[in-house]
């Protein structure tokens, strides 16, 4: 087994079988129509940021600053590989996909195991990048980045990690703009999707309803 294959297997093996099952159940639940998301005890301790479009200027500035520090530039780079600027509709950058992912990972109802797994994925990606191309993912060339994403997708954990990231890119593409993605409905326009109406104002977003 070559070194990189070992790394990927190590990533798979670093998660208990129970956690593998739990993460798959969480992903499956997000695929079912009527359901998604589970919080666990203590989730309320995670500081929750306000929705990007629904918050004041100070909070927006704080979020923008957060996105300049790791792991967010790396998340943004991975998202751009997954959803590129290829002349066919908006890219992950156009969709504010990194800011949206930040909103998801800091939301009170986000499962802590999901959150830890998604954040940990950046570490594993950089370990693979350093082993393969002797640099962090973000410093790799676009071709190298493509190859690294391809490589991690061959492991169970890697494929699951990419699957989570794609799901939240789709949410940034097609959820209501009040949540911070899909600015001015560019995702809906690109896919000629007719959104429903009325749409939620900032006081009627799902985190607000969960407080009721």
């Amino acid at each position: 087994m070559d070194e990189n294959k070992k790394l990927l297997t190590q990533w798979d093996n670093s998660l208990s079988p129970a956690l593998h099952e739990l993460l798959d159940a969480n992903l499956a639940r997000r695929h079912f129509l009527h359901n998604a998301g589970k919080a666990i005890a203590g989730a309320a301790l995670i500081p929750s940021i306000a929705l990007f479009t629904a918050c004041d200027q100070n909070t927006k500035t704080a979020i923008s600053t957060t996105l300049l520090t790791e792991p967010w530039p790396t998340f943004a780079a991975v998202q751009l590989v997954l959803f590129p600027n290829d002349g066919n509709g908006p890219s992950a950058t156009d969709l504010n996909a990194a800011a949206y992912l930040n909103f998801v990972l800091t939301a009170r109802d986000t499962d802590q195991d999901d959150r830890r797994f998604i954040l940990k994925g950046i570490d594993w990606l950089n370990r693979l990048a350093n082993s393969e191309v002797k640099t962090n993912f973000i410093m790799a060339t676009p071709e190298q980045q493509q190859q690294l994403i391809q490589k991690i997708s061959t492991s169970t954990s890697g494929e699951r990690w990419l699957s989570y990231l794609l799901l939240y890119i789709f949410e940034a593409l097609l959820s209501d703009p009040v949540y911070g993605g899909n600015p001015k409905g560019i995702g809906w326009q690109w896919l000629q999707h007719q959104p429903g109406f009325p749409t939620p104002g900032k006081n009627k977003t799902y985190p607000e309803l969960l407080k009721r």
Partner: protein, 563 residues
């Protein structure tokens, strides 16, 4: 401690009519609802709130079910069952834990049952390994209440005679049909070519405003799974609970989880115990208690309510509580219409989102077939594929080889999936035969966040259900061929749809084989009634909500007599 005439547990299709009828008649009513009171101005077309976060249903970490599913046969040929919690599997069995219950989120297909549905055993005979029985009431007992629901809850449509039509006491629906999608012309054409009867779907949606509280449909194209923002949908909350509260006789406590019903030495229930939104345990006293928590949870509550005369659970003296659970059998299919195959005007019409695909078929409600003999069939309902775009996109990310697709290829796939065609679906509703392999019990290991054992649900099905489903499926696909649809596909499954549940506390004349009498009163607890779908011994071949509403109005009249 306050005393009420009636305490109703659950505010959905089973609870709403009782609260409405009794409070308007001057009785004091308390409704205890586990979910929050979201009102008309809290409902928006927001896929995250509706369908991707636990907003309308409990968080599975707090409350879940244990599902025992079929897992093959052992060496002796006996069925094996695998047990898994819905927290572990992601297979969620909650539906609309809200004031108004799952009626907030229904599509509102409102079909009546037929007289034959009330006497399935007499009409079609016994089926081996199925517990089919006749009902203790007849269609004529329920007919006036179907008419009442059409008026009070609000059903729109056009009465169109057809060979399998049930008798009606009124000539028309009280409200004209909602606007129809142009694709209905395709369906009508396909059915006509096969001499089938394409019928306009009766729907619990108001086409125009009827009051300051209930506006007409806004035709946003987001109806099923979503709460209604105009009041057009005939949810229990909009049509019944709001009016009950406005009467001044009905109080409602939301986020009130009932843990047990406490009975005395005579078997009569004297208190309901519940945990309120501040996590305080309370009790309430009433002359009559009505249980309407949706079928699975109703059985769970009765089984959890041990008393001096109810050692095995309330009404469970003959071990019937939880037995003979029902779902809706059948399946679904679809075909696609590619815009490039049509001229610009037709393509534009196909793309429309908003009006309803108001079409259904009941040509196969009764079957005469060489293999099946004379058998009970089902209903076919047509609808556009669900508009939820995130869910749709998430299904596109897998390639034909089951590997993830990303980058340029993913974007091309997404663009094609969203912009090249309109997908028309059909859903088949058949009887889910009651068997010994579909039941609710209390799980001995898992508890909810309040410390109560969760419901364990075995979900075995009868092979006959699949045979009937496949009979209808193959014929339905031919309609799509006549419509020149592409990529026609479909499947029938024994997997239970969690949003279509009934049974578990069947009504009947014999206490040894039923939980409730024909008035839906627990046989040996004279002041407890069950009005969600749990009372149904067989389910019929249409969605249950209309019949649950109608029966709850019927039971409300019986409760009035008892008070």
């Amino acid at each position: 401690m306050s005393q009420y005439d009636v305490c109703i547990i659950g505010s959905g299709a089973g609870g709403g009519p009782v609260a409405y009828q009794l409070s308007l008649a001057g009785y004091t009513v308390l409704v205890l609802e586990k979910g929050p009171f979201l009102k008309q101005n809290d409902y928006y077309k927001d896929e995250l709130a509706c369908c991707r976060r636990s907003v309308y249903t409990p968080n599975l970490t707090d409350e879940f079910h244990v599902i025992e599913d079929y897992a093959g046969k052992d060496e002796q040929g006996n069925y094996k069952w695998s047990s898994e919690s819905t927290l572990d599997s992601g297979w969620d069995f909650w539906n609309g834990n809200l004031v108004g219950g799952a009626t907030n989120l229904m599509s509102g297909f409102f079909h009546r049952l037929k007289p034959e549905d009330f006497r399935l055993k007499s009409e079609f005979g016994e089926i081996k390994d199925a517990n089919v029985v006749d009902w203790p009431i007849e269609y004529t007992d329920l007919e006036p209440y179907y008419a009442m629901v059409e008026q009070i809850v609000g059903v729109s449509g056009r009465v169109t005679p057809h060979p399998n039509m049930e008798p009606r006491s009124t000539k028309e629906f009280p409200y004209p049909a909602t606007n129809e999608h142009p694709i209905t012309k395709f369906i009508d054409h396909g059915c006509e070519a096969l001499t089938l009867h394409s019928l306009p779907t009766p729907r619990a949606i108001l086409p125009t405003s009827i009051s300051t509280q209930r506006g007409g449909c806004q035709y946003s194209g987001y109806c099923g799974s979503y709460g209604c923002a105009s009041g057009a949908k005939g949810s229990s909350r909009e049509a019944l609970i709001n009016a009950a509260i406005a009467s001044g006789n009905c109080s409602l406590q939301d986020r009130a989880k009932v843990t047990r019903l406490i009975s005395d030495q005579t078997g009569k229930v004297i208190h309901a115990e519940y945990i309120d939104k501040h996590n305080q345990t309370k009790t309430v006293q009433a002359k009559i208690f009505v249980v309407a928590c949706q079928a699975v949870e109703t059985s769970r509550l009765l089984l959890s309510s041990i008393g001096p005369k109810h050692q095995q659970g309330l009404g469970n003296q003959y071990h019937q509580v939880g037995k003979n659970m029902l779902f809706s059998a059948g399946g679904s299919g679809s075909g696609e219409f590619y815009y490039d195959d049509y001229n610009a005007e037709q393509a534009q019409q196909l793309k429309i989102r908003g009006p309803f695909v108001n079409r259904y078929l009941q040509d196969w409600y009764f079957i005469n077939d060489k293999k099946l003999g004379r058998a009970k069939g089902g209903t076919v309902e047509f609808l556009l594929s669900h508009p939820n775009p995130i869910n749709r996109a998430n299904g596109v990310k897998w390639g034909d080889d089951d590997k993830l697709v990303w980058g340029r290829a993913l974007k091309q796939k997404l663009k094609a999936a969203f912009t090249q065609s309109q997908k028309l679906k059909f859903e088949i509703f058949c009887d889910w035969l009651p068997t010994d392999d579909c039941f609710v019990s209390l799980d001995s290991q898992h508890k909810d966040k309040w410390g109560s054992p969760v419901a364990k649900l075995r979900v075995g099905y009868h092979d006959h259900d699949l045979e009937v489903g496949n009979y209808i499926l193959e014929r339905s696909k031919k309609i799509f061929e006549k419509m020149n649809a592409k990529n026609i596909s479909g499947s029938v499954s024994g997997s239970p749809p969690p949003n279509l549940q009934a049974g578990g506390c069947r009504f009947g004349n014999d206490p040894k084989t039923s939980v409730l009498d024909k008035d839906c009163r627990i046989h040996n607890a004279e002041n407890v009634f069950v009005t969600d779908g749990a009372w149904m011994p067989t389910g019929g071949s249409v969605p249950y909500t209309f019949t649950i509403y109608a029966n709850a109005f019927r039971v409300a009249d019986l409760i009035k007599k008892q008070l």
